[in-house]
Amino acid sequence: MDLLAGAPVKASFIERSIEGLSKGLSFAALADASAHAQTGLLQRVDPRVKVAGVFTLIVAVAAAHSLLAIAAVLLLALTLAIASRVPAASLAKWVWMPVLLFSGAIALPAVFLTPGDRFPGLPVTAQGLRAASFLLLRAETAVSLSSLLVLTTRWAHLLKALRVLRLPVVFVVILGMTYRYLFLMLQTALDMFESRESRTVGVLDPADRRRLASATVGVLLSKSYQLSSEVHLAMQSRGFRGEVYLLDEFTTRGADWVWLTVFLAVAAAAAWVGR
């Protein structure tokens, strides 16, 4: 009897978990490579200017009451992404599609439930469609701008920029350490699933999958707790006494001031047009 014969087997729970974790690591690698590309436009801009500019644009988009104004900012983000050599396909796959699905699920009921003028023969209202469009467009634009910031700025520079812009030091340090150890825990989870897969034959039944998932979460939690204690000891050993100090060294060039002016002008225009 041919044990391998039969219909193709669907990817197992373990394989799907491995795939998901690998994708997470791939996106991080993409972000890292993109941020280090010196040929891109935004990669050469002072990180503080980018953080301030993107923050202002997001505020303007959130405040704007015109779909046209929000769409214009989204178009600007797309143009900057292309000029910064951020692959549009990756942006669509990692940013636009997930946001569309997530925000779409939230916005969809509004299309049917919002009172207003119904389209002939359709259960949707013009007001509902407009509300849903606002939600989707705002979410897509805000996430595109944030992703553009992350994909064109080295993580270390981004953290320093946040610090220079007066974000509390504890917040910045925790953010940095979370990102740093996320990789370690992702890799640990990946190793655990691969090790489990190498000892698994066939497809697990739902009860076993639940057991495996909860056991993995438990082990990861325990490992992360142990790791955090060790990291704290390592910090103490080098003089940490509860206060964190950072090396902040940025120089702003003339071009950076021009960029800041452009960001602020676009944000002001979007807010004015969409008032």
């Binding site: 993580w155 270390a156 953290l159 060790e230 000891l233 050993s237 940490f240 950072l246 090396l247």
Partner: protein, 261 residues
């Protein structure tokens, strides 16, 4: 320099240190030799003031190393400046976003002037030959590179005492050799270095004093050559074992196997 008196410590119900007493002289290169679970790493952490004995005392240059003394900012500041620990797992020690930030972390805690910090960081990177890694995030480094960054992050403070926990564990032979050469040459060979290891091949290269530990107790203190010669004692401490193998001409036979690298 360090005096350890009748120290006892448990992890829940497991005894890690059971009445250990020893003295470490200034300028000596000492090894805490023992198998896994012998208590050497716990003792190293106590010498760095990261955990404290349940009973017994530890002192550094006559000052007690305990919770109360390390709560005083001035004492803690001076002690951390003078004593540095390199952890076994470099991932624990590399928590900053870049190599440069990592090495600058200790000096920044010391509140040294920025120019002084940058000068020392550059010097430490040059010593460890890692200047080309300065903007890299630690999670993108190889095992050997991580270890060198971890050592640089401690050496940048130019401590009087360097504590090392299994410095060559999980490293390839070339990286091991680089780390050993560095330890031999550091501070012109005149600084105090205390290394916890189970690697017998390392002992004679990096130490002139050896403390053998077994199940939380100190069982011997002698020169490395004397300790390494005593096969019965090493076997009892689980550092060597009988190894059975066959030779085409001699057939099957056994002899002590030391795991020297």
């Amino acid at each position: 320099m360090f005096r350890v008196e009748n120290v006892v410590f448990h992890y829940n119900t497991v005894t890690a240190l059971d009445g250990v007493s020893l003295e470490i002289a200034e300028g000596k290169r000492s090894v805490l030799l023992g198998a896994n679970g012998s208590g050497k790493s716990t003792l190293l952490r106590m010498l760095d003031g990261l955990c404290f004995p349940e009973s017994g005392k530890i002192s550094f240059r006559g000052d007690a190393i305990d919770q109360a003394s390390l709560e005083h900012d001035e004492f803690a500041h001076t002690f951390r400046r003078r004593v540095g620990l390199v952890f076994q797992n470099p991932d624990v020690q590399l928590f900053n976003p870049t190599v440069l930030d990592e090495i600058a972390f200790g000096p920044l805690q010391m509140r040294w002037p920025k120019e002084e910090i940058l000068r020392r960081v550059e010097a430490a990177m040059a010593t460890l030959e890692i200047a080309h890694l300065k903007d890299r995030p630690p999670h993108r480094l190889s095992g050997g590179e991580k270890k060198r960054v971890a050592i640089a992050s401690v050496l940048v403070l130019d401590p009087e005492v360097l504590l090392l926990d299994e410095p060559t564990a999980a490293l390839d032979p070339r990286s091991q050799s680089q780390i050993i050469d560095l330890l031999i040459g550091w501070g012109g060979g005149k600084k105090t270095v205390i290394t916890a290891t189970h690697d017998l091949g390392l002992v004679e290269d990096i130490a002139d004093d050896c403390f053998l530990m077994q199940q939380g107790k100190l069982v011997a203190h002698a020169a490395p050559a004397a300790i390494l010669k005593d096969e019965a004692m090493l076997r009892a401490a689980n550092l060597i074992h009988e190894h059975r193998h066959a030779h085409p001409s001699l057939g099957m036979h056994t002899h002590p196997h030391t795991h020297r690298t």
